[in-house]
């Protein structure tokens, strides 16, 4: 069974009488631990779809099943709980301006009513090379630093899925590559990532790409070599040597991996 499946999913804005079609109907499936890209021109409905997936918005019709829950029929309260258990990052970081870095990260747990520990938040900041700015007001951080704090915040509640809406859209190429590398590492550790972008840079990372145009899927590419069989996971699959199967109940072993490999010094020869 797939982690996410959309069936005849439609999202209209405007009124019932005067609907503005933003998305759909679309049908697709996303597997656990896969890296999915949603590509398309501006106004094609990418953000609309991502907002539905992240439980920020409700569909007009059709159903969207994530982790065996139909998001279209969830109550506000359950939807909040769902949002607390997934990770999300945005193009413009969306950090809370009055809080410092570590407090912003902790808010990833706290907002959803989870206690969370400072140690884990500190570890995340350290992993992404910004622990020296832990007490800094986020207003003073650079764009790349802000996005890394935002990633830490998304990961602090140890989510199974990470949603990204143009995470590098506001970054220069150096910072962009840094973020790409982080996400690649996370994906390799088994995090399901669904990313909206119009950057071509991520294409080589993707297990599947959904192309949107005027709210409809025009193309849907699956790269077989990176497909992970859900029923019978094989950590030693030859085409995805880095993917490690993990028990979904266990937290992602993010902290002692991802960035620790090379402390996030950007390697110019990195092959994306």
């Amino acid at each position: 069974m797939s982690l996410i499946s959309a069936i005849d999913l439609v999202k209209n804005y405007g009124t019932k009488k005067n609907p503005i079609k933003a998305l759909g109907p679309v049908n697709f499936e996303i597997h656990s631990k896969s890296f999915t890209l949603i590509l398309g021109k501006s106004g094609s409905g990418k953000s609309t779809l991502l907002n539905l997936l992240a439980g920020l918005d409700k569909s007009t019709s059709g159903s969207l099943i994530v982790q065996n829950k139909n998001l279209s029929t969830l109550s506000q309260r359950k939807l909040s709980k769902y949002r607390a258990n997934i990770g999300i990052i945005f193009q413009f970081y969306n950090l809370l301006p009055n809080l410092n870095s570590i407090e912003n990260v902790m808010m990833g747990s706290w907002a959803g009513g989870v206690e969370g520990t400072y140690e884990y938040a500190e570890q995340l900041l350290k992993d992404f090379g910004i622990d020296h700015r832990a007490k800094a007001n986020v207003k003073t951080l650079s764009g790349g630093e802000k996005q890394r704090v935002a990633i830490c915040r998304a990961l602090v509640s140890q989510p199974e899925i990470l949603f990204c809406d143009e995470p590098t859209g506001a970054l220069d190429s150096t910072n962009e590559r840094q973020v790409i590398k982080i996400l690649q590492g996370l994906s390799q550790k088994g995090l399901t990532i669904i990313m909206v972008t119009h950057s071509q840079e991520f294409r080589s990372l993707a297990d599947q790409i959904i192309y949107l145009k005027d709210g409809l899927i025009t193309d849907h590419k699956n790269f077989n070599h990176q497909q992970i069989p859900q029923e019978e996971p094989n950590p030693n699959h030859p085409s995805s040597p880095n993917k490690v199967h993990r028990n979904p109940d266990e937290p992602l072993p993010l902290t002692n991996s991802v960035a620790n490999n090379d402390n996030f010094n950007i390697d110019p020869k990195i092959n994306l």
Binding site: A54, L56, D57, R83, A84, M107, W110, G112, G113, V114
Partner: protein
């Protein structure tokens, strides 16, 4: 959302926006301030006045009488009262179980009068106390009062009242300033302030053959205090319309040599002041000395009096003692109670009226705070969206904004109470500076037991303003908070 997170958000928000928040709570500050100041002031002043009343031992008693009919309220008496004469001992027996009662003594034990040396004491008092021919009760025009023996006294020949209670000297002097001749300070133990005419029907200046008020000044007069106990057997009836006092027993006569230190020319009242008031104003020292002496020949404790004074320890127990006495079927009158009730209700009205202004400021602040909170919600739409995207429930957002407005109220209340307290303090300090530094004012106040102007803190008022501030901010905060909680995260994140 954990409380920790809510508090962190509020703390950081307050840290960044403290000036705006203080300004926003201005209405609360002013309201709480004015309520605190006015109520501290009026409650404090009324307490001072009660202290002043309390300090006067002359008013620290309750007068009890017994009506023949057994009525225990003056309202129940129809027609002129007929009092049963009661003895101090019977009242003592009735009040032995009332803790607040300290002493029981006969009221109007004596009639004290001044007699110039020109006539016989018995004649003088008989003149003063002449039992006037009272008309028959049946002959009284309805509503007409029987003739009061006191009025008769004012018109007797050759005898003059000694004024026992003329309030403060300052009052006496101020009221008669235009008619005043001589020393402008209170009479000492062997001095007297005398009216020139005293008694229109037998003017003092004629008795003494004086040509002008100046001649009276400096003269030495021999004042005679004639004491006649007015008592009859206990249980006998005293009818107001027919007093039935036929003879006077002269138990004690005392003489005092006094020098006339000041004269009040009371021949003409058109220029203000007294006219024909048969008054001598002596120092309290003489009055006290004259009243100490108690003749041993009379068994006062078992004699019957029209009224008995019940002395109490303090005014705290006044009301309860009055109730206890009424339960024993006494007719009770207390000048102190009337006075205190008047003072307290007057200050209550003042407190309410002034407090109302504060309340209006507080109510008006609802609009200000609602506005500020609505702007805060608008300004922080994105923050709301972020928190919701991270899993915050509507209820969490509501909590944040509701607590924010509540904290606004608390900040306003703290500042208002503090400013209120400080301004009260400033008032009492300046009172003390300006009033107590004046020797004669200070002496007058000390006579009334007032030695400072400390206005005590009233915790009930502080608690009340806290509750009011919370109610006000809750009313102001609830709508913006609900609006905040209903924000659509997608819309708010778009900006």
């Amino acid at each position: 959302m954990s409380l920790q997170a809510v508090l962190l958000i509020l703390y950081k928000y307050f840290k960044e926006n403290w000036l705006r928040i203080i300004l926003a709570s201005g209405g609360i500050i002013i309201g709480v301030w004015s309520i605190t100041l006015t109520s501290f002031l009026s409650l404090g002043l009324s307490e001072k006045i009660i202290t002043a009343i309390n300090s006067q031992s002359a008013t620290k008693y309750i007068q009890v009488q017994k009506d023949e009919s057994g009525a225990n309220s003056f309202f129940e008496i129809s027609g002129p009262p007929k009092f049963q004469r009661i003895s101090p001992n019977s009242v003592k027996a009735d009040t032995v179980n009332i803790d607040s009662v300290q002493e029981v003594a006969a009221n109007s034990t004596f009639l004290s009068y001044l007699r110039t040396s020109s006539n016989d004491p018995i004649e003088c008092v008989n003149n003063l106390y002449a039992t006037l021919d009272q008309p028959d009760e049946s002959q009284l025009i309805p509503g007409e009062q029987p003739i009061n023996p006191q009025t008769a006294a004012e018109n007797s020949d050759g005898c003059y009242l000694i004024n026992q209670n003329y309030g403060s000297f300052e009052n006496l002097y101020q009221a008669n300033k235009t008619d005043w001749i001589g020393q402008e300070t209170p009479p000492t133990a062997n001095e007297v302030v005398a009216c020139y005419q005293c008694n229109p029907s037998s003017p003092l200046f004629e008795e003494l053959s004086l040509a002008s008020p100046q001649e009276l000044l400096g003269q030495t007069l021999t004042l005679e205090y004639v004491k006649t106990p007015i008592h009859e057997p206990a249980g006998s009836i005293f009818d107001v319309t027919n007093p039935g006092i036929t003879e006077y027993n002269f138990e004690e006569t005392q003489t005092f040599e006094v020098k006339v230190a000041a004269v009040i020319d009371d021949r003409d009242s058109s220029d203000g002041g007294f006219a024909g008031a048969n008054n001598f104003f002596t120092s309290r020292a003489i009055q006290q000395q004259a009243s100490i002496v108690t003749p041993e020949s009379v068994d006062f404790d078992n004699a019957g009096f029209i009224a008995i004074d019940v002395f109490i320890d303090d005014f705290q127990s006044l009301d309860s003692t009055i109730e206890d006495l009424q339960d024993k079927n006494y007719l009770v009158s207390s000048a102190a109670q009337l006075f205190i009730t008047a003072v307290q209700s007057l200050f209550l009205v003042v407190t309410i009226v002034l407090g109302l202004f504060g309340l209006i400021a507080l109510i008006a602040s609802i609009f200000g705070i609602t506005n500020v909170m609505a702007i805060s919600v608008l300004k922080r739409q994105k923050e709301i969206g972020i928190l919701k995207a991270l899993g915050a429930r509507n209820w969490d957002i509501l909590k944040i904004f509701f607590l924010e407005s509540t904290l606004l109220g608390i900040v306003g209340w703290i500042i208002g109470t503090l400013v209120g307290y400080l301004s009260t303090l400033a008032l009492s300090v300046s009172f003390e500076r300006f009033v107590l530094s004046n020797d004669s004012w200070r002496n007058n106040l000390e006579n009334f037991g007032i030695t400072d102007f400390v206005l005590p803190i009233n915790y009930v008022i502080i608690l009340a303003t806290f509750v009011i501030a919370l109610i006000i901010t809750s009313i102001s905060g609830i709508l913006p908070a609900i609006r905040a909680s209903r924000q659509d995260p997608v819309q708010t994140l778009k900006n």
